[in-house]
Each structure stands twice: as structure tokens, then as C-alpha cells.
């Protein structure tokens, strides 16, 4: 006699749990979808030069700003500069807007944007950083990768 209501109670709980799991699954699907459409893959100069980076997709690139490569427009805020891995792979970045304070030639940089031509990157955002001593891990890796490739070649 005692089990009857207990069982009914358990059944309700089971249904509730099933509903909850289904709901959580649905939510997770949405979240993962949102995640998937908002990730930006990172590419190093050597990958950009080798044509491994996709065109027309939002990606991130990084490396060092080549000395003497910064060119400003006289009329607008457009600026162009070369990004290099210091081992021979170089591509051009074009950006319109205000560069972060710590941006300068010979410093690490990470940019988000779209690769429009083979070696031309249209940046939407140039990453600023708090600290001069801080090197974005991506850039450090990109330089390492470039260095390794150059080392293998010679």
C-alpha cells in the first residue's frame, strides 16, 4: 500500500528529470552553436603567407610590426603596416581607426579581421594590452613557429 503513491511520485520525478535533460540538451545545442559561429581562429604569418588562412572569414592574426613599414593616410585614419614573424614571412595589415597606445614598430600585435587578398589583412580591431612586457601567447608561438621553419630551411 505504501508503494503506490511513492511510485507515482517517482514517476513524476522521472518525467521532470527527463524534461530537464531535454531542456538542458536543447540549451546546450544553442550555446554551442553560438560558440561555433563566434570563434575566431588564429593564424601566424607563416600560415598566412602559405595560403593556409581562409579568405573572407573573420580570423585573428598576429606577429611583430615590421620596423619602417607603418604608412598613414593624409586624409583619413587609415593606416597600413607589415606584420612579420622575423623569419621571412610577412603580410600587410590595413586598419582604419585609432591604434592602441602600445602599438609601435618592433612590437607584438594581434589583429582581428578578414583576409581580403593573398597577403592583405583588413583589420577591424587591433588588440591593445595593458603591459609592455606582456607578449600575447599567440604572438610568441607565431614567432617560434616562424623561427623553427626558418631554422629547418637553412
Amino acid at each position: 500500500m505504501k508503494f503506490g503513491p511513492m511510485k507515482a511520485h517517482r514517476r513524476t520525478i522521472l518525467v521532470q528529470i527527463a524534461l530537464l535533460v531535454a531542456l538542458a540538451g536543447l540549451a546546450l545545442t544553442f550555446v554551442l552553436q553560438a560558440l561555433d559561429s563566434n570563434i575566431n581562429l588564429f593564424f601566424s604569418p607563416i600560415q598566412v603567407v602559405a595560403g593556409e588562412a581562409p579568405h573572407g572569414e573573420r580570423i585573428r592574426v598576429g606577429g611583430m610590426v615590421e620596423e619602417g613599414s607603418i604608412e598613414r593616410s593624409d586624409r583619413s585614419l587609415q593606416v597600413e603596416f607589415d606584420v612579420t614573424d622575423m623569419a621571412g614571412s610577412t603580410f600587410r595589415v590595413r586598419y582604419t581607426g585609432i591604434l592602441p597606445d602600445l602599438f609601435r614598430a618592433g612590437q607584438g600585435v594581434v589583429a582581428t579581421g578578414v583576409l581580403t587578398e593573398d597577403r592583405l589583412f583588413e583589420a577591424e580591431e587591433i588588440l591593445a594590452k595593458h603591459d609592455e612586457k606582456y607578449m600575447p601567447p599567440e604572438v610568441a608561438l607565431a614567432l617560434e613557429a616562424g623561427g623553427k621553419a626558418a631554422g629547418d630551411g637553412s
Partner: protein, 662 residues
């Protein structure tokens, strides 16, 4: 000499913390009350020696002792003295020393202001806090010693504090944030102590509530200040970036917010007992996770400290021990914990449940987005990705909208069950009025916008419900105003906190949807028209600060012919580090902040200029401060003051009662 003394004090503090774990534990197992009580005096000792140590480092900064490597890296003789003090926590080692100091402060506070706590229970709480402290001291001493000397060859001049940190915001932001982060260790310690003693009744919830409220209020204040600082000092004009480190502070806040609500339900109604314990564990775990993310340099972040993987690994190990240990204890002790109390669908318990579900899910999806780059890298064998703000907006906003709706209703709810006539009373008229108000605000801000009007509606609806609830409390009394003033502070605290949420919501939606932002090239004499405003640029002149030189721009802001203000943003170059920094100038007004910053100099005296007009952006921080105040206000509530006056014996009998009936 003083530096060595500081180092020595730190070692002593660590040893005392070890004793604070060992002696009361032995006392508890042998029933020796003298040993049990030693926890309190040891807590005082730990605090004093940590304070000495912190003072020694501060002195090293004030005296420009560049033989200390940390001082040489983060200070300079030209640095104004207030910044020499704040430079103590300007980088990893010193900020972690501050962290341990804050830990010892909280431990001392618990030791001194928990008289009503049962003696044995308090000792357990102090043991848990000391154990965490030992971990922090060891980490500091072994991997991040701020007292390390670079003898015999040390620099004659320091390399200066990062200019971004030379600002009032940075003097107060870390201490407040750490009070919040580390403060979450108190509810954690209460939860662990209750698991440890198998005393899983509702008393731990009652005791830990004021502590949780205090920590949460500090965390709120710290985050708010950080956002304000990012707005005026980083030179970007943004106030939230979904940056990994911002998320690291926001996740514990979300969990702590869930915790203060669930603690209320546990204390008042004895429900969600085991869930509340779990939340307390996760709140502090998220704090530690934040410390790990910031200090390991594992994620690309504007906030990241210089990278040191070893430190990251040590914190990660500590994190695993803390989370793993707590969950193990939880699974052993709390698996059969049941709440016998039932409640109705319309009861306040149910609203709190919904609040907890939504807040926990928010924290989880933010965690997912924050850690996804790490998982991706591990799974794909080294591919680096970043997750952009659109993800966080896409998952967070849809969770917050129903949250606001529930928040509005919940103000009218009662424990156990709410009569539908009470819950739904005048909701339609109020919704109508809020819709009108929302639309009106949106129109004021320059044209109907669905988002502004919508979120505005929700915000006003919440406010009207708060007013409605206050009105109900005083209705039918002979002197309603007096009655209103006599409402307990806990009621006012609740009203203030939720009102703050409404203010933040309005500020956020206005700042996101209505602000005007332009980056442009301006030569001296150029005039830029934005709506009613004319902004003219009159070139720059050189000015000198104590430790920097700057180009100071002159901008006149006119509305029609009336001169509203002259803004003088600066581009500074700090002498020691040669780093360049933007100092924006902001005209604060109700119709919208006018924010002007200098980018970089272009040809012929022209500059890249950033102009933002941000309506209601102040609401974000005003709201944040109101929310924090609500937390502090709750501490002043009579029931806490009254309890402090009661003696231990009464608390013990109360506990026993709870054990029997809970």
C-alpha cells in the same frame, strides 16, 4: 634590513597559519577546549605578521629601494607617493601579498565578530580559512616572493609603474575586488565546516549570511569600479569587454548572487540545503579560477600579468585540491541531505529557485566561452582561437530578460505560497505604465528603439513592483510614512539592490543601443557636428606632469551657441618607461557623457580623435554602487546587531533546536 624583516614576517605568518590548522584540529579530536580556542588568537597573529610584511614592502616602495627586484620593476623615484603605495599591488607578487593580507583580515574578522557562533563550529571555520591561507602563503613564498633582492648589482632607477595603473581607480579597485574574491572564502569555510561537523542544519546558513552579503557587496563594488576605470582610463570608452579577466570576476559574482538568495531560502524555510552548500563551494572555486586565469597568462587578455606557466600550475593544483576535496567531502556528507519542507509553485522559494537556475546557467555559459579556447587548443593540438563578445551577448542577454520579468513578480511573492490576487495585483496597469515610461525614455534618447523601450519597460516594471510592495507594507496604517521609515533595513536593502539592477539595465541598454561613436582625423580649427553638438578642435600644447610630458588638446563643446565645456584630453609619455598613454576627458551630463580622447598625432598638427556620446552610461556604475550599498545596508539590520549581543549559550541552544526540528 626592513625588507628581510618583511620576508621573515611572511614566513612566520605562514607558520602561524599552519598552527592555526593543526592546534584546533587536535583540540577538536581530543576535546581540548584550550587548543580549540587557540584558533582565534592565532588568527590575530597571522594578521599582524602579514600586515608587518605588507608594511615592509610598502616601505621599500616609499624609500625607492631598487635592490628589491619587485620594487625596481614597478616603481620609480619620480612616481608620486600615492602611486608608490598602490604600486605595491601593481603587479603579480605584490598583488598576491595583498590577497593574503585580505585573507588574514577576513579570518580575523570571523574570529572577532562571530561570538554567537558555537565555539566548536567557529574553530572549524577558522581551521578551514587557515588551511586556505597556508596554500596562499606557500604559493607566495615559493613561487612569487615580492621581497627577492637583486644583489649585488641592482638598478639605480626603477622602470616605473605601468602608466595605466597610475590612477585613482587602481588605488582602490584591487583591494575592493580582493575583499570580494577572498571574502567568498568565508561562506566556503562555513559550508565546509558544516559538512565536516555533519551539522547540516540551517544554522550555518544563518551565520554565514551577513558574511556572504559583505563579500558580495565588496565584489560588486570592485567590479563596478573596474568597469568605470576601464571606461575613463583605458582610453577606449568601453565599459565591459567580455574579456577573460572580466569574466573571471563576473562568474563568482553571479554565483555569489545566487548564493545570497539561496541562503535566504535555506535560513528562512529550510529548503535547498545541499544546493546552498554546493553554491558556497563553487562561489569560492570561481574566485580561485579567476586568480588562476589572471595569473597564469594562459588566456590572451588585456589584464594578464606577465606569463609564468609554473605559477599557473601551482594555482591549478591548489584549485583542484580545493574543489576536489570539497566535492569529496560533500559527496560523503551531504548525499542524504533532504529538505522536508515543501512549497507551492507561487511561493518565494520557487522564484529563488528560478533565480538560482538562471544565474548558475549564466555563469556556466560564460565559463564555457571563457575556457573554450583552452579546450579547443587541447583538442585540436595547438590551434588558437578566441571567443568574441557576440557569443557572450548572444547567450547572456536571453537569460537576463526572463530574469528581469521574474524579478518583477518575485517582489510580491511570499514564502511557501503567494495568493494569486497578491502576485498578480495591478500587474497589467503597472506593465502598461512601464511600457509607456520605457517608450518615453527611448524617445527622450533620440527616437524609438525596440531594445531601449523593451528593457526600459522591464526596468520600470521592476521599480513599480518594488514601490507596490513597499506600499502594501504600509497600507492601512495610521501614519504610512512613519511606518515606511520603520521598515527593517533588510527590506530596504532588498528594495535598493533590485532598484540598482533596474538602474544598471537601463544604463546598459542605453549605452549599447544609443551611443554615438566616431573616430576621426581633426586638424586645428576643424569642427565636428554630432546631433545638436558642435565639437571644435584648437590644437594641442605641451604640458608637463610629475613623471610625464604630454600633448594636451583643447576641444570646445557647444550646443547651439552656448559653450558647454572645454575638454582637455591628454596624450602622455611617461619618462621612465617611455610608454604612451591616453588620458580621456569627459563631460558628464544627463543627456549623455561626451567623451573625447586623443589617438595619435598625424601630419600637420592634426590628430586622430575619438569622440563618444554615451547617454545614461553613468547609470551602469550608479546602479552598481546601489547594488553594493544594498549589501552593506543588510549588515546593519537589527537582527544581526541583536544577535551579536546574545551570548554563546543561547546560540548553542538555538542550534540544538534547529538540529532537532530541521
Amino acid at each position: 634590513m626592513i625588507v628581510e624583516l618583511g620576508h621573515f614576517c611572511l614566513v612566520i605568518a605562514c607558520l602561524l597559519a599552519v598552527l592555526q590548522v593543526a592546534m584546533p584540529s587536535i583540540g577538536l579530536s581530543r576535546g581540548n577546549l584550550l587548543l580549540v580556542e587557540s584558533a582565534r588568537s592565532l588568527a590575530a597573529g597571522v594578521f599582524v605578521f602579514t600586515l608587518f610584511s605588507f608594511g615592509a614592502l610598502t616601505l621599500a616602495f616609499l624609500e625607492d629601494d631598487f635592490s628589491v627586484a619587485y620594487v625596481a620593476r614597478n616603481s620609480n623615484t619620480l612616481l608620486p607617493w600615492p602611486y608608490k603605495v598602490s604600486a605595491v599591488w601593481g603587479a603579480h607578487e605584490g598583488s598576491f601579498l595583498l590577497w593574503t593580507l585580505v585573507m588574514s583580515v577576513w579570518t580575523l574578522l570571523v574570529a572577532s565578530f562571530s561570538k554567537p557562533l558555537e565555539q566548536l563550529f567557529r574553530a572549524r571555520v577558522l581551521v578551514v580559512m587557515a588551511a586556505l591561507g597556508v596554500g596562499f602563503y606557500l604559493f607566495l613564498l615559493l613561487t612569487s616572493n615580492p621581497f627577492e633582492r637583486s644583489l649585488p648589482f641592482f638598478p639605480s632607477e626603477g622602470s616605473d609603474l605601468n602608466p595605466l595603473l597610475q590612477d585613482f581607480g587602481l588605488i582602490v579597485h584591487p583591494p575592493l575586488l580582493y575583499m570580494g574574491y577572498v571574502g567568498l572564502s568565508v561562506p566556503f569555510a562555513f559550508a565546509i565546516a558544516s559538512l565536516w561537523s555533519s551539522q547540516l542544519d540551517v544554522s550555518w546558513a544563518r551565520w554565514s549570511r551577513p558574511w556572504t552579503n559583505a563579500a558580495w557587496a565588496f565584489l560588486t563594488l570592485g567590479i563596478t569600479l573596474g568597469s568605470w576605470w576601464a571606461y575613463y582610463e583605458l582610453g577606449w570608452g568601453g565599459w565591459w569587454f567580455w574579456d577573460a579577466v572580466e569574466n573571471a570576476s563576473f562568474m563568482p559574482w553571479l554565483i555569489a548572487t545566487a548564493l545570497i538568495h539561496s541562503l535566504a531560502a535555506t535560513e528562512k524555510r529550510g529548503v535547498f540545503k545541499s544546493w546552498t552548500v554546493l553554491l558556497a563551494v563553487f562561489g569560492f572555486s570561481f574566485s580561485l579560477l579567476g586568480a588562476f586565469l589572471v595569473r597564469s597568462g594562459i588566456l590572451t587578455s588585456v589584464h594578464a600579468f606577465a606569463v609564468d606557466p609554473d605559477r599557473g600550475q601551482v594555482i591549478l593544483a591548489f584549485l583542484i585540491v580545493v574543489i576536489g576535496g570539497s566535492l569529496l567531502l560533500y559527496s560523503v556528507r551531504a548525499w542524504n541531505l533532504k529538505s522536508v519542507v515543501s512549497f507551492d509553485r507561487t511561493g518565494r522559494e520557487n522564484f529563488i529557485l528560478a533565480n538560482n537556475v538562471l544565474l548558475t546557467i549564466s555563469a556556466t555559459v560564460i565559463l564555457l566561452g571563457t575556457l573554450y579556447p583552452l579546450a579547443y587548443e587541447a583538442l585540436t593540438g595547438g590551434d588558437k582561437i578566441s571567443v568574441g563578445p557576440p557569443y557572450f551577448n548572444a547567450v547572456f542577454v536571453p537569460l537576463m530578460l526572463p530574469m528581469m520579468v521574474l524579478m518583477a513578480f518575485s517582489q510580491r511573492s511570499r514564502w511557501w505560497s503567494t495568493d494569486s490576487s497578491v502576485l498578480l495585483k495591478s500587474q497589467w496597469p503597472m506593465l502598461g505604465a512601464s511600457g509607456a515610461l520605457g517608450a518615453f525614455v527611448s524617445w527622450l534618447l533620440g527616437g524609438l528603439d525596440l531594445w531601449v523601450a523593451g528593457v526600459g519597460t522591464l526596468a520600470f516594471w521592476l521599480v513599480l513592483n518594488l514601490i507596490g510592495e513597499l506600499r502594501r507594507r504600509v497600507k492601512g496604517r495610521s501614519s504610512p510614512w512613519q511606518r515606511l521609515l520603520k521598515q527593517p533595513l533588510s527590506v530596504w536593502s532588498m528594495v535598493l539592490g533590485h532598484f540598482g539592477i533596474a538602474v544598471v539595465a537601463l544604463g546598459v541598454v542605453a549605452a549599447v543601443m544609443v551611443s554615438e561613436e566616431t573616430d576621426l582625423r581633426m586638424a586645428p580649427g576643424d569642427v565636428e557636428t554630432m546631433g545638436q553638438l558642435k565639437i571644435s578642435f584648437f590644437g594641442t600644447q605641451a604640458v608637463e606632469g610629475p613623471n610625464y610630458v604630454a600633448d594636451q588638446g583643447r576641444f570646445e563643446i557647444r550646443e547651439g551657441d552656448e559653450l558647454l565645456a572645454v575638454l582637455k584630453p591628454e596624450k602622455r609619455r611617461y619618462l621612465a618607461s617611455q610608454s604612451v598613454m591616453t588620458e580621456a576627458d569627459i563631460l558628464v551630463r544627463f543627456g549623455g557623457d561626451i567623451y573625447v580622447a586623443l589617438g595619435e598625432p598625424l601630419s600637420e598638427g592634426a590628430w586622430a580623435v575619438r569622440i563618444h556620446i554615451k547617454p545614461l552610461v553613468r547609470f551602469i556604475w550608479i546602479g552598481g554602487v546601489l547594488i553594493a550599498l544594498s549589501g552593506f545596508l543588510s549588515l546593519l539590520d537589527k537582527r544581526y546587531r541583536a544577535r551579536r549581543a546574545t551570548n554563546d549559550a543561547k546560540a548553542v541552544t538555538e542550534t540544538q533546536k534547529e538540529t532537532v526540528y530541521g
